[in-house]
């Protein structure tokens, strides 16, 4: 399955990556190659194989429902570009 130029632009947008228009053909080729490999792997008969959710053969550890964290707002906000009244400030997202 080969990707089109539009697919590449869309994927970049979904990942919020800025790409140079002149690099698009290169991305088209590289990403299509990855998909070709996936397609090749899809040929293998896996009907008897249980889909793997995680490479580790282990199960999720559960923690007790206890509040263990204290307020460290000041500490965290010392590295934020902008804060006010305890809020993180970001560029407006709704017009």
């Amino acid at each position: 399955m080969a990707l089109s130029k539009e697919d590449v632009v869309n994927i970049a947008h979904l990942a919020r990556l800025a790409i140079d228009a002149k690099d698009i053909p290169e991305y088209e080729k590289n990403l299509s190659n990855i998909l070709a490999l996936v397609e090749q792997m899809s040929q293998v008969d896996t009907t008897q194989v249980e889909p793997m959710a995680h490479p580790l053969d282990a199960v999720q550890r559960l923690r007790p429902d206890e509040v263990t964290e204290t307020d460290q707002r000041e500490h965290f906000q010392s590295i934020a570009p902008a804060t006010e009244n305890g809020l993180y400030l970001v560029p407006k997202v709704i017009e």
């Binding site: 809020l87 993180y88 970001v90 560029p91």
Partner: protein, 477 residues
């Protein structure tokens, strides 16, 4: 053409835990911004989510209560989208292998028939933070206290056929999660939120029409209104020859209309994949068994018991059961008195009226279940008449003590002394010769007048049966 609405609901149930789904930060409501947002909730590099055991237990409890399949193996996935109140750039949710699948909830329709609504799945996920769009010099303020709050998203089958059915389903679900003590049900604080998928099709057609998703409708009244205006909007479009577009719409209660949320339209490519930070969740059969044993009596079972054992009618039983606290209050009064019908009348009548008037919840009622039972027992043994009982109830409500104290203090004991009642009757007969004449000449209706006069003169304390007997004898001359 006759149109048939097809509706499915997605309900977000905020789980009543102490800490977040993947971190040890508190989920208490109303804390100052970002004081309950830890490194995990902020999505700082190098942190690892660890699943809260209580969240799993609550999901299992819910699954068992709706007769669903509880998956002994379930996995978490990343739902990818960019929004400032989602600092990681993905929401941890479940996609394949959700924790609960294929359940159902029975709702009662207006005509009294029961309809079974399928629950496709219920999956665990984390909530996002809050964006505050008030003016911060042209910027948006972000509060991440809510980020990581545990949610159970309950997805129904598209089995609902009207806004009324949707509300009935939502109310039933609202009551159930509170019975299970997995959610406080507080809709104002957003603990129980609903999105509705609405489409219409010509009646008789099998295929579904194109649906619109109505977001975050946070009251029962708004759900009904939002769905109805959306149905009308779609009918107008289709009858005008247009096409419904699949999109997310927001209900505006002030204008009573739905409008498109264009900004999120493009964001529907979530690219789910299993979250490598979280291992598969394996639930042992023994764990499920333990949860099963902890299930309380569920609303449907309670309704059954109230109608079968207590003889309540179906409507009264369902009203009573909708609120767990009220159901337990009633149950206590009914058991302590052996008079379920009187208990139901007092709870749904005077008590509910007084609570509504004072804006209190039944758990804060100044008249406790034991106090009400004490009073009903005095009605039962003939100490109180329906009239004096009302006086006692009011006095109990105003904190004047228990029924027996009030009966004593207000001298409400019935006049059992026949002589005293006879005296009253004699006086009344003497004072009303005209009516006596009428009665004796065959106008039996006048009898009621005499009963009324005697009761009035005795301040309601005379035993009506005794009054009847004595009056009849005396009036006969």
């Amino acid at each position: 053409m006759e149109w048939e609405p097809v509706i499915g609901l997605e309900i977000h149930v905020q789980l009543l835990t102490n800490s977040k789904i993947f971190s040890g930060a508190s989920i208490a409501y109303g804390a100052p911004p970002n004081t309950q947002a830890c490194a995990v909730d902020l999505g700082l590099p190098g942190v690892l989510p660890v699943l809260n055991k209580e969240v799993v237990r609550m999901a299992v409890k819910f699954g068992l209560a709706i007769g669903a399949k509880v998956s002994t193996r379930s996995i978490f996935a990343r739902k990818n989208y960019f929004y400032p109140d989602l600092p990681k750039g993905y929401q941890i949710s479940q996609y394949e292998l959700p924790i609960v699948e294929h359940g159902h909830l029975d709702i009662e329709l207006e005509d009294g028939t029961v309809k079974r609504i399928g629950v496709t799945r219920a999956h665990l996920e984390e909530d996002a933070g809050k964006s505050l769009h008030e003016d911060f010099h042209g910027l948006t303020g972000i509060d991440l206290n809510r980020a990581g709050t545990p949610l159970l998203e309950v997805v129904s089958e598209p089995d609902l056929r009207s806004a009324k059915e949707a509300v009935a389903y939502m109310k039933k679900m609202h009551s159930l999660v509170q019975y299970l003590e997995i959610c406080d049900g507080n809709m104002q604080e957003g603990s129980f939120r609903c999105d509705a998928n609405v489409s219409i099709r010509p009646k008789g057609q099998k295929a579904f029409g194109t649906r619109a998703e109505l977001k975050n409708i946070n009251s029962f009244r708004f759900v009904e209104r939002a769905i109805n205006v959306e149905i009308e909007r779609q009918i107008d479009i289709l009858e005008g020859g247009g096409e419904v577009i699949q999109e997310t719409r927001l209900y505006d209660p002030d204008k009573n209309e739905t409008r498109s949320m264009r900004t999120k339209e493009e964001a529907n490519d979530y690219r789910y994949f299993p979250d490598p930070d979280l291992l598969p969740v394996v639930i042992e059969e023994g764990f499920i068994e333990d949860v099963k044993k902890s299930l309380p009596e569920l609303p449907d079972e309670k309704i059954h018991r109230f109608t079968q054992d207590y003889g309540l009618n179906a409507y009264d039983a369902s009203v009573m059961v909708a609120n767990r606290d009220m159901a337990e209050y009633f149950d206590a009064v009914a058991q302590a008195t052996g008079e379920p019908k009187a208990a139901a009348n007092w709870v749904m009548g005077d008590l509910t009226g007084a609570l509504n008037k004072s804006g209190q919840e039944i758990n804060d009622s100044p008249v406790t279940a034991a106090m009400l039972a004490g009073m009903i027992n005095r009605i039962k043994d003939g100490t109180l008449t329906s009239k004096t009982a009302k006086i006692v109830f009011e006095a109990m409500w105003n904190g004047e003590g228990e029924a027996d104290q009030i009966i004593e203090a207000k001298d409400l004991k019935p006049i059992s002394d026949t002589g005293a009642i006879e005296k009253i009757i004699d006086d009344i007969i003497a004072a009303n010769p005209e009516q006596v004449e009428q009665y004796r000449s065959g106008k039996e209706k006048v009898f009621g007048f005499f009963v009324g006069q005697v009761m009035k003169a005795s301040k309601g304390k005379a035993n009506p049966q005794q009054v009847n007997e004595l009056l009849k004898r005396k009036l006969a001359g």
